[in-house]
């Protein structure tokens, strides 16, 4: 017997979505039977824009891919550029870069915890975590001068050094954050009404998570033991001791636990970084403007998962191609699948459990030679001829 299902659209504008993205859920009663994703409301043409800018300008453009993991995108990009240039970075620069990486992870996870709590109506936890996120933001402002787009990276190192006073402030911060995180871990795993909403919801088995190419805390909560920081160390991660947190509960509770414990690990890493911080230069002094021809891929463990940047250069001061693959792209399919079988009320928290960032992810897709719609690939010559003809006919302009 065919079951009667109704389709409910969620998005592109919906209170639980912080950015536009459309989902179409097939529901029967309150239970979800299917989910479809429609993206592309947020395309900004950044990859194309990079081709018109030099390597330094691209840096500040790519920083604006995401408002939360801005440092992630610049670091991923700059690592690719630095490997093309064959630069040997000073240790202190790498350590400071890693320091900002981990501070960013702290503020991103605190933000996520608040959003997750808000999605299930637990506004008290939301307010608490966002209050503590302010502390981290203040430190980031202290170090870099900015709260959101830190602009601390530069080709060959970082732009600002930290003082002894700032070092002390950061150490105080990690102490406070550890205390608060222990408190949130307690609430997140003991408060009955919160537990009722996250335990056993949004299930994603280890096998399916690997098949769907899930990354980051989402994958680690499904017991996929992957972390670029350990598997392919970059910056100063090779010198640090830390655990890769995984959880075998495969549900949203696991994702909360993984992120909360990752914050503790981040605090440990920050302390180690400040302990071991070597003296010396923070950036390479002379960096050539022109990058030798070649291509490089760089992997980076952003707070949301593995971020991949590909840079191809043609020997000029502008990149020929920059390709960004944000972590949300990998997790979105898996998230849509994890919703099936749960209730309508679980949609927000299940989608939010990947910490989605749609504007990082959106790219255009162009269908070449699509016969159904009559779309055909045109060569440059054809386009030019078309333009000349059009202007001659419509505007009377002769070229």
């Amino acid at each position: 017997m065919a079951e009667s299902t109704i389709k409910i659209p969620v998005g592109p504008q919906h209170p639980f979505l912080k950015e536009p993205c459309k989902f179409e859920f097939e529901i029967s009663g309150e239970e979800i039977r299917g989910a479809k994703i429609r993206m592309g409301y947020n395309h900004r043409g950044m990859e194309k824009a990079c081709e018109d800018r030099n390597y330094y300008q691209c840096l500040y453009l790519l920083e604006r891919i995401c408002g939360i993991c801005s440092h992630s995108h610049t670091t991923a990009y700059i690592q690719a550029v630095e490997s093309l240039l064959g630069l040997e970075l000073p240790k202190r620069g790498l350590y400071l870069r890693t320091l900002v990486c981990e501070l960013e992870r702290l503020h991103s996870h605190l933000l996520w915890l608040g959003v997750a709590a808000h999605e299930v109506g637990f506004d008290t936890l939301f307010m608490y975590t966002w209050r503590d996120r302010e502390l981290v933001m203040n430190i980031l402002e202290e170090i870099s001068g900015n709260r959101v787009n830190y602009a601390i990276n530069t080709v060959g190192g970082v732009r600002r050094d930290i003082t002894a006073e700032q070092r002390k402030k950061i150490l105080d911060l990690t102490k406070v954050v550890r205390e608060r995180v222990a408190y949130y871990a307690n609430i997140g795993t003991n408060e009955p009404s919160f537990m009722a909403r996250i335990q056993g919801v949004g299930k994603m088995s280890t096998e399916r998570a690997i098949e769907k190419c899930a990354v980051g805390p989402f994958a680690r909560a499904s017991n996929v033991d992957r972390d670029v920081r350990r598997d392919d160390p970059y910056a100063a991660y090779g010198d640090l001791e830390f655990k890769v947190i995984t959880s075998d509960s495969c549900d949203i509770l696991g994702r909360v636990v993984v992120r909360v414990l990752e914050m503790v690990e981040s605090c440990k890493m920050i302390d180690q970084l400040l302990d071991k911080l070597p003296e010396g230069e923070i950036a390479v002094q002379k960096v050539p403007r022109r990058v030798p021809a070649g291509a490089a891929v760089s992997r980076y463990e952003a707070p949301r998962g593995e971020d991949v940047h590909y840079v191809r250069s043609n020997g000029t001061d502008k990149p020929e191609r920059v390709k960004v693959r944000a972590p949300t792209l990998c997790n979105l399919e898996a998230a849509a699948e994890s919703v099936v079988g749960s209730y309508v009320a679980d949609i927000p928290i299940a989608i939010a459990s990947i910490d989605p960032c749609f504007s990082c992810t959106d790219r255009t897709t162009v269908l070449l030679n699509d016969r159904r719609r009559g779309v055909r690939m045109a060569t440059w010559e054809e386009l030019r001829r078309h333009g000349v003809d059009w202007y001659r006919q419509n505007k009377g302009i002769r070229f």
Binding site: P9, V120, E191, A196, R197, V344
Partner: protein
């Protein structure tokens, strides 16, 4: 003279005017407490410590554009907010404060008040149903499902003090602990009190039972399509329902508001504030549960708790202690 008194009762205290003003104050208390629990300041700028903020919000809503969706049933869509407000206000009139006459105090007025308090939920369902939007429809069905969950435990809990006093008249029930000298029945009924407070929280659709209007799931549930004046009327209704519901619980479980106009009014304020404070604390300490979870929670915990309380009272009554 009697007519003037009745008019005063209906229109001024504890009738329409008092309800309007006092309920906005209760909303402010609720918002302020909730904010302090969340380490925020809450309303701050309108009036002393933002005490006029709820009024300002309502005034603002009245000035906003009022949209009636083309697909909705126009008559029902427009009339429903007033029905909800009227039933909430009328419910408030049955509270045993100050001046009792045959109009507002008779055998069975408890039943009348409980049904009047249940009316806004039905109205909310109809409002969602007639606004014809997917979110409103889902919200409307959730309102009804939730109603089945909390209404029976709520009735059972309110039955206990009625059985103790042997009366269906709220004034008699409120007077009983003092009139009979059995003041210890107040702590005895703590289980029923807890059930009643939780059920009232569900009736008012507040966290953790704000399922019908869960913002992140169904936008605003049944009220999604409402705006401007009509939304403002629903807001006033919600405040007055909170006032009437908490005052009913205070009357039945906390010893009522005897002692004439001044002492009665003072007791009314203090006791409703206590109940509202409890409601705010629950709101601050919980996450929103799911619709299936509220049904199982109500029938697994609230209903048995109220039945146990009922049995205790019946046994004591049978033993001749009460």
């Amino acid at each position: 003279m009697e007519t003037v008194k009745v008019m005063l009762y209906v229109l001024v205290f504890p009738g329409f005017l008092f309800q309007m003003i006092y309920s906005t104050y209760l909303e402010w208390v609720d918002r302020k407490l909730y904010a302090r629990m969340q380490n925020r300041r809450g309303p701050l700028y309108t009036g002393w410590s933002g005490v006029l903020q709820p009024v300002a919000d309502i005034v603002k809503l009245f000035a906003k554009e009022d949209v009636t969706p083309a697909a909705s049933d126009k008559f029902m869509f427009n009339i429903l907010p007033l029905v909800a407000l009227a039933s909430a206000c009328t419910a408030g009139l049955y509270l045993p404060v100050w001046h009792l006459t045959g109009y507002n105090s008779f055998q069975g007025d408890l039943i009348v008040m409980v049904y009047l308090l249940a009316m806004p939920s039905f109205v909310l369902f109809l409002a969602g149903w007639f606004s014809v939007s997917p979110f409103s429809l889902i919200g409307a069905t959730r309102v009804l499902t939730q109603l089945f969950a909390y209404e029976v435990p709520f009735f059972l809990a309110l039955l206990t003090p009625a059985v103790v006093a042997g009366s269906w008249k709220i004034a008699d029930i409120a007077k009983y602990p003092w009139a009979s000298g059995n003041w210890w029945v107040i702590p005895l009924q703590v289980l029923a009190f807890i059930v009643a407070v939780l059920a009232l929280q569900a009736k008012l659709e507040r966290v953790p039972f704000d399922i019908p209007e869960a913002e992140t799931e169904v936008v605003a549930g049944p009220l999604t399509e409402y705006s401007g004046k009509k939304l403002a009327v629903f807001r006033i209704q919600k405040d007055i329902s909170m006032y009437a519901g908490s005052a009913l619980i205070a009357a039945l479980f906390l010893g009522g508001f005897g002692g004439g106009l001044y002492l009665g009014a003072l007791q009314l304020v203090l006791k409703t504030l206590l109940v509202v404070a409890l409601l705010s604390v629950i709101r601050g300490a919980c996450a929103r549960i799911r619709i299936d979870q509220i049904v199982s929670f109500s029938w697994r915990y609230l209903a048995p708790m109220s039945i146990v309380q009922f049995l205790i009272v019946l046994l004591l009554k049978g033993g001749g202690v009460i």
